[in-house]
């Protein structure tokens, strides 16, 4: 599997993501420059975390206009894999590749911490190594992770099993406390209808090595590497 990690001005988890994919999981992984029009033949495009364009205006709002996003859009339309992590998720929402938008965290503060997530849909290409209901421990680090969509869209998304991850407590229960940023229906990760584009607020690349506090992030990354929905 060949991965391409997009570098926007202000991306700051680009190297971390490349490190996890290439050095930890031994995948072929390259950087893709946002101003280019070249996907370098990758199978999976990763939009990494960070603050593209400083997150000024709105998170992800300016990044969506980067030249490379045309190719990313086409790649997605062809069924190619796209994974948006944190800021990358925000960019996917702004691009309209995923439904909804992000609001400020409910406590109006940046939040960096490990959270627990419940796997809602284990049949996607991004979760095929997980069990339904499995609880994953992965860090978040964001200011705008409070997921919002109009009720009709939410119902749609639920009906199509597009919700992949929800914030939950260690036992997998959905509680207000566990929903750290106030997301609607505790949504932490979503796929598009076709199932080839995923966005999630938690950082799997930060939970790929035991030394850093856990390896649950690998469940997501290794699912992609396996590369098929089951």
């Amino acid at each position: 599997m060949r991965f391409g990690v997009v570098v926007f001005p202000g991306s700051n988890c680009d190297s971390d993501t490349l490190h996890a994919l290439r050095d930890v999981l031994n995948q072929d992984a390259v950087f893709l420059w946002h101003k280019d029009h070249d996907l370098k033949g990758v199978d999976c495009v990763v939009l990494p975390g960070g603050f593209a364009h400083g997150d000024y205006l709105r998170s992800g709002a300016i990044a969506k206009f980067s030249p490379l996003m045309r190719e990313v859009g086409e790649h997605a339309a062809r069924g190619g894999l796209v994974l948006g992590i944190c800021n990358g998720f925000q960019v996917l929402l702004e691009l309209g590749l995923l439904p909804g938008a992000m609001l400020r965290n409910k406590n109006l503060k940046f939040l960096c911490r490990f959270v627990t997530l419940r796997v809602e849909n284990e049949r996607t290409v991004f979760t095929n190594r997980a069990r339904k209901g499995q609880v994953l421990r992965i860090p978040i680090a964001h200011f705008d992770g409070n997921y919002y969509a109009p009720p009709k869209v939410l119902d749609d998304v639920e009906r199509n099993s597009q919700v992949v991850l929800r914030y939950a407590d260690e036992q997998g229960r959905l509680t207000e406390e566990a929903n750290v940023n106030g997301s609607m229906r505790s949504i932490a990760g979503l796929v598009n209808k076709a199932g080839n584009v995923m966005g999630l607020m938690p950082h799997p690349e930060r939970a790929a090595e035991a030394l850093l506090g856990g390896t649950d992030g690998r469940v997501i990354l290794e699912s992609v590497i396996r590369g098929r929905a089951s």
Binding site: E94, A101, L103, L108, G182
Partner: protein, 80 residues
């Protein structure tokens, strides 16, 4: 030409920042403030474009760039 564009959350979207400001005002004794909504304002300086064109392009810019139509609405004015 100066243009002012206001972007704010749609009424259906919860505005926690506005709520926090309201609570702060309450604590400070400004109980007559019943609601607060917080939004963004953009002041643009335009050059080399006439008013008709501006009237066409401003909403385009607002819709495409400045506001996210899923959560936000906008209004604008050419400033005197």
């Amino acid at each position: 030409m100066k243009v002012r564009i206001l972007v704010s959350f749609k009424n259906s979207v919860l505005d926690p920042q506005g709520q926090t400001v309201k609570n702060a005002l309450l604590t400070l004794g400004y109980g007559f403030v019943k609601d607060v909504r917080q939004g963004k304002v953009f002041e643009l300086d335009l050059e080399g474009i006439d008013e008709a064109e501006a009237r066409r392009l401003i909403p385009e810019i607002a819709d495409k760039v400045l506001a996210n139509p899923i959560i936000e609405k906008f209004s604008w004015d050419i400033m005197p």
